[in-house]
């Protein structure tokens, strides 16, 4: 494998995705409006302690924004017949997927950083541990952008079908990840189930970075997110290769 050519191709795919898919309605709806409405529904007017629940809200926003671009790209390209041409360019399935992941991660990173910066100003939230916070933003966005790309793997050339499926997968995760009920008060089976969600580790990492109150521990959180990136990216490569011919 020629790494310089591999990365050159991946970065070109990222730029293409940013130009085309950031402004698509499903990205706007599932990546921006959806987490905003969830925040309004669960947090507003309930007198919740903001500093305690804010890390969960930020993790949820990052989760939805970073995973909203990936599911759209491959089905959209298969529908518009551009996917086959993309495969014939000096790219591999791996470099296309890396380009898709980077596009999703950058989108999630920029939006969640903007929300975090605005929250700092408006609610006078603590800055916390900058190293852990940076790691949480970067690993979190890459993890969930990888999940988004994995969700694009079904052999469908109908973007709405894949977006529906991705919502079916993503929505339950927010209820078992310590966003609405903090991990510190979860116990027994509920806590065990929460460990199955990758979002749990990001919520805990943000809790550790902002409030110094991580339940699982930052090192374990970072390790878990890293493993999730590898699993999601490898899964995306495997399934997209397997379903390559379908929808061409």
């Amino acid at each position: 494998m020629r790494l310089p050519l591999f990365f050159q191709g991946a970065f070109a795919v990222t730029e293409k995705n940013m130009r085309i898919y950031y402004t698509k309605p499903p990205v706007f709806i599932f990546g921006l409006l959806f987490p905003l409405f969830l925040f309004i529904a669960f947090f507003m007017g309930r007198g919740l302690e903001l500093s305690r629940f804010y890390p969960g809200f930020l993790a949820m926003t990052l989760f939805f924004t970073a995973s909203s671009v990936g599911p759209l790209i491959t089905p959209w390209e298969k529908r518009d017949r551009t996917y086959e041409r993309l495969l014939s360019y000096p790219l591999t399935v791996g470099s296309i997927i890396l380009g898709d992941i980077l596009a999703g991660a950058l989108f999630g990173l920029v939006i969640s950083l903007l929300i975090w910066a605005a929250s700092l100003l408006i609610f006078s939230l603590p800055l916390g541990n900058p190293f852990l916070l940076s790691a949480a933003f970067i690993l979190g966005t890459v993890t969930f952008a990888s999940l988004g790309t994995l969700l694009a793997s079904p052999a469908s050339d109908t973007p709405s079908t894949v977006m529906m499926l991705s919502t079916l997968v993503r929505l339950p995760l927010i209820f078992i990840s310590g966003i609405f009920i903090p991990l510190s008060v979860l116990g027994g089976a509920a806590l065990a189930v929460s460990y199955l969600s990758p979002l749990t580790y990001l919520v805990d990492l943000f809790q550790g970075a902002m409030n110094g109150a991580a339940v699982i521990g930052p090192v374990t959180d970072l390790f878990a997110l890293f493993v999730c990136i590898l699993l999601f990216a490898a899964g995306a490569v495997y399934f997209q290769r397997r379903n390559l011919i379908k929808g061409l």
């Binding site: 591999f6 730029e15 085309i20 086959e84 041409r85 014939s88 000096p90």
Partner: protein
């Protein structure tokens, strides 16, 4: 060194063998036509040769570079014009070409310069900054051509490049193929249009049911299957072809106001048609005898009727 070399290419989809042990070599600077009926394996072959699909068995080399072991470098030597123009509707014409240039590894200066120059050549200079989704099919195909040749590839693959295009766009595509060929590019052309293949190609390969059944120069293929000839005749008024009856008359096809009559003895059939027209009082508007055609060779090879 051949520009394209495929050795024992095989690709199966479940129990179906789409391409079966295909071996093919295309010399540098050739225009190679690849013909076959629907479902014969043309598209699968082109996908295997362009790295879209990987073969179950066999190898492909582009200008001596193995597509399996060094796909990124091999793909940089080729340009692909797919059947459906396959360009990004949400990008402008210039953005599509610049993106292609970037994917082929051109520097920023080179890709911007080449993109502007190509759009002028393709007659799209005044629409360069408009989104491609507003373009006609012919204009999209021109953008697609620009994307395929922005890096001046050594090998150009075209999959049905003129299908569904108007006359102007078809001529422009044909002129572009010939110009690329003059500049030293090897062209691999898949087409249903036998006349187009006959006019453009230096050599032709015919695939049927996944197997390459013939490869030769068009004139040689025609002579090989020189068992029949055709007569093209039209009358001053409408006639019923069922009225023609002669033992050397093998087949009649109606083409507009003309009949193409396939025969193994043109002399006898021309005499018969002239006497029939005289007897029936019908004036012959035109009469031509045609040599063996590539279409006949194609039908003979693929077993079509």
């Amino acid at each position: 060194m051949p520009a394209i070399e495929a050795h024992h290419l095989t690709r199966r989809f479940g129990t179906i063998t789409a391409v079966d042990d295909l071996t093919l070599s295309v010399d540098a600077r050739e225009i190679f036509g690849f013909l076959g009926p629907n479902g014969a394996g043309k598209t699968t072959t082109i996908r295997l040769m362009t790295g879209v699909l990987t073969p179950d068995e066999g190898t492909v080399q582009i200008t001596g570079i193995d597509l399996r072991t060094d796909p990124l470098r091999a793909k940089r030597c080729m340009g692909i014009i797919p059947e459906n123009s396959a360009v990004y509707g949400d990008l402008s014409a210039i953005q599509n070409l610049v993106l292609a240039g970037r994917l082929y590894g051109l520097s920023t200066v080179d890709r911007n310069r080449r993109a502007r120059s190509l759009l002028a050549d393709l007659g799209l200079a005044d629409r360069a900054d408009e989104k491609v989704r507003t373009f006609s099919k012919g204009m999209k195909q021109r953008v697609s051509i620009g994307c395929a040749i922005i890096h001046e590839p050594a090998v150009l693959f075209l999959d049905e490049p003129t299908a569904g295009l108007d006359v102007q766009s078809r001529r422009l595509v044909t002129a572009m193929i010939l110009r690329m060929h003059e500049q030293g590019t090897t062209v691999f052309l898949t087409t249903h249009n036998i006349e187009e293949a006959n006019a453009l190609c230096t050599r032709i390969g015919i695939i049927n049911r996944g197997v390459l059944v013939a490869t030769d120069r068009p004139e040689v293929l025609k002579q090989t299957f020189d068992t029949t000839q055709s007569i093209e005749i039209s009358f001053a008024r409408q006639v019923d072809p069922l009225m023609f009856s002669h033992p050397n008359l093998l087949r009649i096809e109606q083409r507009g106001d003309k009949f193409r009559i396939v025969t193994d003895n043109p002399d006898q059939v021309v005499k018969y048609l002239a006497s029939w027209a005289d007897r029936e009082g019908v004036r012959i508007a035109s009469l031509n005898t045609l040599g063996p055609s590539l279409e006949e060779a194609f039908l003979a090879i693929t077993g079509g009727s």
